[in-house]
Symmetry: C2
Subunit: 288 residues, 2 copies
């Protein structure tokens, strides 16, 4: 049997008349999303950037052929990387995001009235532009004078700042290509230095099932620097394995607080906050 297949874009195929994004960055698992429409496609100096409208996940941001964020489930990841640290720091004024080009985490952070300045350091301006124009289900609501865009390299930016931020959120893509250094000890050390003496940080630390080593290395690096390090998890349907880990590292604060913020979340709530720190048995045993 021969299937009729035609390349529409580097990452999009037309198979028997239907458009499909075939995510095949992994050797042994391929996920194919049926595409309604290619909304945006452009090569930036850093990567291949697309916004697609899909049947199952609505619009999605795709970088180098890999799904980053979707209208259907992107809020889960973004709420969990943003609200957890802001329910622990009692008075976050100056917040930095590194990465997070889909704008979803930034949108959640500015729901907190205590936040006076949000520095948004994403290396690729095109990702932010594409997300703001074409991925409003994830990015909408970010128009706010407190947001300062820095289209710069987060690695370099961290080297140049000391004792400045209350909260730093490292919302990186996978540790391949340019993002690799965002998972290294030297970077975390600079993050530590860039935080105020009572500051805290959070980073996405990959799948506990498929990228266990990355998760463990992250934990170990941060544990050498910060007195309080904890992992938590959330479900991200469009990431491989579904279960995703985050690592929180704090110089001082640990307890959950009840901050004043606009409660318009779809996944996060106080019960989920508590529950996300309950780790599956295999994650606990990896630490022994």
């Amino acid at each position: 049997m021969v299937m009729k297949e035609e390349k529409v874009d580097q990452y999009i195929k037309k198979i028997d008349g239907e458009l499909w994004l075939v995510e095949d960055d992994r050797e042994n698992l391929k996920v194919s999303y049926r595409v309604k429409e290619i909304i945006f496609v452009e090569q930036s100096p850093f990567q291949h950037v697309m916004v697609l409208d899909t049947y199952d996940f609505g619009r999605m941001l795709v970088l180098d052929g890999v799904v980053q964020s979707t209208e259907k489930d992107g809020y889960i990841y973004n709420e969990m990387i943003a609200h957890v640290p802001l329910h622990i720091h009692p008075h976050p004024k100056k917040v930095l995001i590194i990465g997070g080009g889909d704008c979803g985490a930034a949108r959640e952070i500015i729901k907190y009235p205590t936040v006076e300045e949000l520095y948004f350091c994403e290396i690729d301006e095109l990702v932010v532009k594409a997300s703001k124009e074409h991925l409003k289900g994830v990015s909408a609501g970010l128009e706010d004078d407190r947001v300062h865009y820095l289209f710069a390299d987060g690695i370099q930016y961290m080297k140049e700042h000391t004792n400045e931020f209350d909260v730093i959120i490292v919302d990186s893509s996978d540790p391949v290509g340019p993002a690799t250094q965002l998972f290294e000890f030297d970077f975390y050390k600079n993050v530590f230095e860039a935080l105020k003496e009572d500051g805290l940080m959070v980073c996405q630390s990959e799948s506990p099932i498929f990228y266990k080593e990355t998760m463990q290395n992250t934990y170990e690096s941060l544990n050498k620097l910060f007195p309080n390090v904890r992992q938590y998890t959330a479900v991200v349907p469009t990431y491989p394995g579904g279960l995703w880990s985050f690592t929180l590292a704090s110089k001082k604060y640990e307890a959950f607080i009840q901050p004043n913020y606009e409660e318009t979340t779809k996944y996060f709530n106080k019960a989920i906050l508590q529950a996300s720190f309950a780790l599956p048995q295999f994650m606990l045993e990896d630490k022994k």
Copy 2:
């Protein structure tokens, strides 16, 4: 471009020399698993049954081309459908499983010494046979005199039993084909009748993201019958959406207890038990 593709089995393709299971039961999302070896394949009177050895998920049970359980992540689902009810019923002696042909839930239940009899009602004997022989990573440890196999129709079996079981676990496949009736009110009513006056049941109730209606219908049906109905969730990487719902319905008991059992779980623990009942905001709002 034309890809070289050859059908090896109804559900397995050889693409450019590599074996792939292409799970394409959903119209807009296809997941392809690279296969090392086809271990077992046979058509039963009920369905097409396969055990495959895959690169990413180890061995997997595949029914009618849809992944049911894998060595890599099957324990999550099975532990969560088995241990949660057995941490609520204080003295379960007679337990029934309907479905659960991969044998994983049954294996977890017999870890409880209070359980005197486990009735295992799976319609398709071939699934149990294939799992016991070829899917030991999920099924091993089930050799126990307390297990009584009933290769029978669970719908019919429930009509014939009254006031008999302490715990009933409905571990069904998706509500298509023969499993459809396992999601209907009449079936739940018979389950209610088959439970003792302090009995409780749990069922898998599909994805809160992709099969919200099924989940809600299950909740509503059970809510008409039982005084205590609660949903909980777990992550199941190989199920669409990753996040999966379970519904627990109890005639009497609600609180968590600390039963005596052999603690050899890989996902479940007491923190996860508590955490699994913390529902994402969108699930709470669906109930309003």
